[in-house]
């Protein structure tokens, strides 16, 4: 069964063999960009009020936290790892923030660094366990997922609404640009995170180590790259990004709730994959992740505009897109199937 399919796959990929590897890795990214453009133009033709810059900005306002989380996930996936704890970490951050600010009256200026520290430290701890004891990242972050979600419930099983004036003030601030367009403060933070991540990945030694580690871990080790500290650092980055994403979600929702961000780890992974990052690591673009987040947001927007479609179509479409892109990745990478 598998050999027939493998040869069929080989036949299918033959046209791409002549394309240079550099271009080949960009094909999913180009597909995503085209997809986004097509979705936007079809949406503009079908729905009134779709064709406006504010719709695009709203995508960022509604998905800024996902963008930050997905950027963190990109770091981990580039090294060939996976972080399943991000959704729970986001929920824990909303919960911690709401709890400390509302029930204990802590100032926001103290809570924000604390939450970021908790995120980064737990990410680093998971990275340390993964590296030191050579346990699969999947299982360690799964435990992290359980732990963070469980801690949410130990804080409170109810939703905590935030009425603190500083927090609501930040949440309701609109930054106006030309033509009456506006964004929220979290959007600015999310875009800043994206720029920082881009610079770090493409213009620093740490970024090169991340790519090298994902390309081939034993080669990276033999080259004398700091494999252990890089691995711990990417999980710390992912933890930090999910804590920050949690803070942004707190501003967006103005509440802390243990059920916030259910399944966000999947959205983050989906955005990364749709953005052209290989799940096996070593190849990908953080700007592609931003495109991936926009595609996910666009699906949601189209489903909203359509009105007759139920929200669960969003999940089905995301699943279908994930399928297409993973198969595309498989065909592009041109490697022999692992099953053989």
């Amino acid at each position: 069964m598998s050999t027939g399919i493998a040869s069929a796959a080989a036949r299918l990929t033959r046209p791409f063999a002549t394309v240079s590897p550099r271009t080949r890795t960009r094909i999913p990214l180009i597909v995503t960009a085209v997809l986004l453009a097509v979705m936007f133009s079809v949406g503009s033709m079908r729905y009134e009020g779709f064709l406006s810059a504010q719709v695009v900005l709203n995508l960022l306002i509604d998905n800024g936290f996902l963008l930050v989380v997905a950027v963190g996930a990109t770091f981990v996936i580039l090294t060939g790892g996976i972080d399943l704890s991000v959704g729970s970490m986001v929920a824990l951050s909303t919960m911690l923030t709401a709890w400390l600010v509302e029930s204990h009256g802590w100032p926001l200026a103290t809570v924000i660094p604390l939450v970021l520290l908790v995120g980064a430290a737990s990410g680093a701890l998971m990275g340390w366990i993964i590296h030191t004891f050579e346990i699969q990242p999947f299982i360690v972050t799964l435990a992290g997922m359980f732990l963070a979600r469980g801690l949410c419930y130990t804080i409170s099983t109810e939703s905590i609404t935030i009425s603190d004036p500083t927090t609501t003030g930040i949440a309701q601030t609109r930054l106006y640009g030309p033509g009456g367009l506006f964004v929220s403060i979290p959007v600015v933070i999310a875009l800043a995170v994206l720029v920082i991540a881009f610079v770090v990945l493409h213009h620093t030694r740490f970024g090169r180590n991340v790519y090298a580690l994902g390309g081939n871990e034993s080669s990276a080790r033999l080259m004398g790259l700091p494999v252990g500290s890089t691995k711990i650092a990417v999980y710390a980055v992912s933890g930090l990004c999910s804590a920050l994403g949690g803070l942004l979600l707190t501003f967006y929702m103005l509440s802390g709730y243990a059920l916030h961000a259910m399944g966000m780890e999947l959205d983050a992974i989906a955005a990364t994959v749709i953005g052209g990052t290989l799940l096996t690591g070593g190849s990908g673009f953080v700007l592609g992740t931003a495109l991936g987040v926009l595609v996910l947001g666009m699906i949601q927007t189209v489903v909203n505009f359509q009105g007759t479609l139920s929200s669960w179509w969003t999940r089905i479409v995301i699943g279908a897109l994930l399928l297409v892109f993973i198969v595309l990745q498989r065909l592009m990478s041109g490697r022999r199937p692992a099953a053989d």
Binding site: V140, A143, L147, G150, S310, R315, I326
Partner: protein, 365 residues
């Protein structure tokens, strides 16, 4: 496992074999959990017969644990091939939703034929879903975690689509039998789970199938070279896992006489993986223990029951489970074991040093 080197010379052969048995630790943990419950609930072990049915906390654990045992059973074979199946939770939801949707729209919901058609429908769709996973993993060579992630994401949407976002309630006596009925005084679900476990054990241990699966998990390339059709076997285990999940989905929806696309089987994949790992099957594949998995599933179910009995909010079981995962994985980790053993070996006399390199090599391999 850590006690083995220390006692090996002093203890007799039987004790050594018992101490080294891989089911010892899961069995001891289960026993300790059960005894712990006795402290908080004095009639914990009492099993009564009422109206010809068995009642009691132990029976409850078995009955509510039956779906988890089934899902974990399928997961064991998948993990034995070095894979993982994240889509079982969604399959559970889809199977329950399909069966209930069929029964609720049927002309005669109470007839046995309707029930059998619903079951066949659910199993048929599960077969297709399993084949899809199997094709991605063995045909296209996608990593299992990624391949099954797709169905995990989309599956809940599909289940919601089938139930139209509602909770479908059904009243069908034959369907109620699967998850909530009794047969020969025993809960039918427990008998069904036991029969499927026994059948799987028979097929994998009394034929070469189990060995072939372990060989594919141990080294896919080598098993292909010796002529094992790894692709077909891989696809088979994903189909098996999906079918097990579907039966579990039928049980869950039948027990509560309703299908909930959103919550049915939520996070059961994590519990199942946990059960398999606690039962001594390593995530690195190549070896599996069905008995261990059953014990593991019972441990998870007892843990949930215990937390509930203690009056702790049930949601906090997640924290306990997280610690169990970490501890079990650390104990399974060769590196961790090597570090602990090395610390132990600093004190013994010199005669032991000769054996050290050999042991270290074994640990590396």
């Amino acid at each position: 496992m850590t006690t083995q080197p220390a006692t090996s010379e002093a203890a007799g052969g039987t004790a050594r074999r018992l101490a080294g048995h891989r089911l010892l630790w899961p069995a001891l943990i289960l026993l300790a959990l059960l005894l712990g419950n006795l402290v908080f609930q004095h009639d914990f072990f009492s099993v009564r017969v009422r109206d010809g049915h068995l009642y009691g906390s132990l029976i409850d654990i078995l009955q509510f644990g039956a779906p988890l045992i089934l899902v974990a059973l399928g997961m064991t074979l998948v993990i034995a091939t070095r894979g993982i199946d994240l889509s079982v939770g969604s399959t559970v939801a889809i199977a329950g939703a399909l069966a209930c949707a069929h029964i609720s729209t049927a002309a005669d919901p109470g007839s046995v034929t309707t029930m059998l058609t619903a079951v066949a429908l659910a199993l048929g769709v599960a077969l297709v879903l399993g084949l899809a996973n199997g094709f991605l993993v063995s045909g296209l060579g996608v990593q299992p975690i990624v391949a099954t992630l797709i169905l995990m994401v989309a599956g809940r949407g599909v289940a919601q689509l089938i139930t139209d976002g509602q909770i479908i309630t059904v009243t069908s006596a034959p369907y109620k039998m699967i998850g909530g009925g009794y047969w020969l005084t025993f809960p039918f679900a427990v008998l069904l789970a036991a029969a499927l476990v026994a059948l799987t054990a028979f097929l994998t241990r009394r034929s070469a199938l189990g060995m072939l699966i372990e060989s594919v998990g141990g080294n896919p390339a080598a098993s292909r070279l010796v002529g094992i059709r790894a692709g077909g076997l891989l696809a088979l285990v994903y189909v098996f896992s999906a079918l097990c999940a579907a039966v579990a989905g039928l049980m869950i929806s039948s027990n509560v006489s309703s299908a909930d696309g959103n919550n049915a089987g939520l996070w059961i994949e994590l519990d199942a993986i946990l059960a398999v790992v606690v039962g001594g099957t390593a995530l690195t594949g190549g070896r599996f223990s069905l008995g261990g998995t059953v014990l593991g599933a019972l441990i998870i179910q007892t843990l949930s029951t215990t937390v509930y009995t203690l009056g702790v909010p049930p949601e906090t079981t997640l924290v306990f489970k997280a610690f169990v995962v970490i501890v079990v994985c650390l104990v399974q980790s060769p590196v961790f074991r090597a570090k602990v053993l090395r610390r132990r070996r600093t004190t013994p006399p010199r005669s032991h040093t000769a054996a050290a390199p050999a042991q270290q090599q074994e640990v590396r391999a």
